[in-house]
Symmetry: C2
Subunit: 381 residues, 2 copies
C-alpha cells in the first residue's frame, strides 16, 4: 500500500491572524481557511450559497480535485445550469477546520514559522468550530447574509449549526442526509476505524510524518468499514452480489479467489490513503461524534432553532441507514415545534447514504425547486 | 492488549485417522472433532439433537466454557427443563472444523507428530465440510438419524447444509437467524475484519505463534466491527446512547472523554483475543462467505431440498440486519416450492442478530413447541 505522505499543495486560502476561540477553550491562531468560489457575487452581495462538505470531502465541490484529478464531488448538483446554479448564485465551499486540504488542521504548524506540526495534538474541533471558521471567511468576503447553506452528511450537521448559531445570516438551509446528533451505532463505526488507525505500527503515536510514512493500512481499514455504511445492502447486492473476481492478492494461499465486493473495498481503502490524512480523519470523525444539538441546548432540540426565520428544506433518503429518515423526522418535529418554515422530503432511493452524492433526479429537482422559491421570497433577481 | 497465545486445552474429542475429503479436493487427515454431550441417548438412539454453533461459538453450549469461565453460551435454550430439554433429548455439540477449541483447525499439526502447525495454510474449509465432519462424529456415536439439528447464524447455515446433504439423517431442522447465502454486505464486513488482521504487524503472515505473539489489535478491530453488526441500532441506543464514560485511555490528548459504546466495543475486542485464534477467524469467516446453497444446486435453492421429508422451523428476528427476515423468507419460499414441511416465525425483537442468543421468551416458546410436536410425530417417548 502507498506509504507516501500527502503532498502539500498551495490551496487558495484566507489567513486570520487573530485565530479562533475553539469550543474546548483554546485559541487556534493563526487560522487558515482554504476555499473555492464559483459564479459571481451580485452587487448587493445577496446571492451567496455556502456548500458544506462531508467527512472526507473538500472545497473542490464544482471542479476537478487538484490532488486526485477526480471530477467535482458534487458536480451534478453545483455548476452552471445545475440545481445550485453558478450562473445565478455565488457558491463558496471551504475545507473544514481540521481537514487536510489547506485549512488549519493536523498538518498545520503549531504556530507561525514553527517546524513542528500539530498532528494528533491539534485541540479537539467541533462542528460549531468549523462553522465559526466559515463565518470568519464569509465575513472576510463581506457577505452579511448567505442566501443558502447546503450540505449533506457531516455537511448537513454544519448547515444545522449555521442555522442555530447564526440564524440571521442564513436565509435558507438545506441539511441533507443528516441528523441533529451522531447515533451510538455511528459512533461505534467511527471508533473501529480509529482503532484500526491506532493499531497501525506506522501511526507512531500520531507523529508518522517524522518517520516519512503514513498509517496507510489502518486508514484503509477505517475507510473500508465506513464505506460499507455509505451504501445500502441493495446497492452492494446490485453492484457486486456474490460475484467472484480474480485472485486474492493479499492472501493467495488461504483464499484463492476473492469476491468483487472485496476488490472494490480494497480499492476504496487504498485510493483514500493517497488523498487523506489519518490525523484529520481522527479529528473530524471525533467532531461528528460529539455533535448533539439538543444536548447543547439543555436537552431541547427545538430550542436550537427558536425564533428562526430561516427556511429549511430537510432531505433524507429511504435506504440511508447511516442517517436514516427517522433522524430527519426528529429534526422536522423540532422545527415544527418552534413554528419554523420547514419542508421535509424523503427521496425514495435504494442507494443508501451515498445517494446524496449520486445522480438522483428527484433530489435535484427538489433542491432546484426549493432554491427557486426561496430566491423569489428573498427578492433575488 | 493481551499478547499471550491461546492455551492448548485437552478437549474431549474423537479422532478419525482416515480423515475427510474436503470440498477443495484435499484430504485432511487425521481429523479430530472436539465435542460435548448432554443428557442420555435413549435405547433406540432416536432422541439426539445436534446443536451447531456460530462463528465464534464452541461445543460448550450448555456448560461453563473452560477457557473463559463464562456461562454456557446457549444455556437459556439448552439444558434440563429448557426448550431443548436435556432431560428428554441427548444433545451433541461439536467445535466446527477450522475452529480453535479442539477440532482440527489452524492450530493443528500438519500431520501426526509434526511440530509444524497448519496456521494460515490450512486448506479452505466450507460449511459443508464442517457438516461432513459432524456426520462422521454422529456415525461414530452410532446415531443413524438425528431427531433435530438446531443452530443460529453460521450454525443455521450448517443446519441447512445438514438438511441438504443428509436429508434422511435429519428428522427436524431449526435454522435460526440465518440465510441460504452470505450477502455482499456481510462479505464486506468480514473482509474489513480480515484486512485489520492482515494489517497487524504481529500477524507475521499467519505464523504469529512462531514469534510468541498473537495479532491481537487486528483481531480486536475485526471483532469490534463484527460486534456492531450483531446489535441493532435500537439496542445500541438503549444500552449506551451517547453516554460518556471516563477518559479515553488509548488517546488521552486528542479526545479526552470517550463514549460508553466505545468502552463496550473495546472490551468486546480485548476479551475476544483471549479466547479466539486469528487464523481460525480467517478460516471460518471465509467458510461463511462462500456459503451459497443455490449456487451449489445449479442456481436453484429449491433443488437443495427436493424430496426432503425433514420438518423445518425457520426463525428470524425483526431487527436483525445481518441476517434479515427477507433472507429467511427466501428460504421459506424455496422450501414451499418443493412442498417441504415448513414453519416460519419472525420474532419481534429490537435486539438485532444477537437476539437468538438472548432471553427471548417468544423464541424459546416457539422452539419448545416445535420440538414437542416433532417429537410426537417421531414417536419419541
Amino acid at each position: 500500500m502507498d506509504q507516501t505522505p500527502l503532498p502539500q499543495i498551495n490551496h487558495q486560502h484566507e489567513t486570520f491572524t487573530e485565530g479562533l476561540l475553539l469550543d474546548c477553550g483554546t485559541v487556534l491562531a493563526p487560522l487558515q481557511i482554504a476555499y473555492r468560489t464559483y459564479g459571481t457575487l451580485n452587487a448587493d452581495r445577496s446571492n451567496a450559497i455556502l456548500i458544506c462538505h462531508a467527512l472526507t470531502g473538500d472545497q473542490y465541490v464544482a471542479e476537478q480535485q487538484p490532488l486526485t484529478g477526480k471530477p467535482a464531488w458534487w458536480g451534478n448538483l453545483v455548476g452552471p445550469a445545475k440545481p445550485v446554479d453558478t450562473n445565478r448564485y455565488f457558491v463558496i465551499c471551504a475545507n473544514v477546520l481540521g481537514g487536510c486540504m489547506g485549512s488549519t488542521g493536523p498538518r498545520s504548524p503549531r504556530s507561525t514559522g514553527s517546524e513542528d506540526l500539530w498532528g494528533i495534538d491539534l485541540p479537539p474541533i467541533t462542528i460549531q468550530d468549523m462553522v465559526r471558521a466559515q463565518k470568519m471567511l464569509v465575513n472576510r468576503l463581506q457577505i452579511t447574509r448567505l442566501f443558502a447553506v447546503v450540505g449533506g452528511s457531516m455537511g448537513g450537521m454544519q448547515v444545522l449549526a449555521w442555522a442555530s448559531l447564526f440564524p440571521e445570516a442564513v436565509f435558507a438551509a438545506v441539511p441533507v442526509a443528516t441528523a441533529p446528533y451522531h447515533s451510538a451505532q455511528n459512533i461505534a463505526f467511527h471508533e473501529v476505524g480509529r482503532q484500526a488507525i491506532f493499531a497501525d505500527p506506522d501511526f507512531f503515536g500520531g507523529r508518522y510524518w517524522e518517520h516519512g510514512v503514513v498509517p496507510s493500512r489502518g486508514l484503509a481499514v477505517a475507510r473500508m468499514t465506513a464505506h460499507i455504511t455509505y451504501l445500502s445492502e441493495a446497492a452492494l447486492t446490485r453492484k457486486f452480489g456474490r460475484r467472484l473476481q480474480g485472485n486474492n492478492a493479499l492472501s493467495p494461499v488461504l483464499f484463492g479467489e476473492r469476491f468483487a465486493v472485496e476488490s472494490y473495498l480494497e480499492h476504496q481503502g487504498s485510493s483514500f490513503v493517497r488523498r487523506f490524512d489519518a490525523n484529520s480523519y481522527l479529528c473530524i470523525t471525533r467532531a461528528m461524534d460529539f455533535f448533539d444539538l439538543a444536548a447543547d441546548h439543555g436537552g431541547s432540540l427545538a430550542s436550537a432553532f427558536r425564533g428562526s426565520r430561516t427556511r429549511f428544506l430537510l432531505v433524507s433518503f429511504s435506504s440511508d441507514w447511516l442517517f436514516p429518515t427517522t433522524e430527519s423526522r426528529i429534526l422536522a418535529r423540532a422545527l415544527n415545534q418552534v413554528a419554523a418554515n420547514v419542508s421535509f422530503v424523503e427521496i425514495i432511493s435504494d442507494k443508501g447514504h451515498d445517494a446524496f452524492l449520486l445522480d438522483e433526479p428527484d433530489f435535484h429537482r427538489t433542491v432546484a425547486g426549493f432554491l427557486g422559491g426561496a430566491a423569489e421570497a428573498a427578492g433575488l433577481k
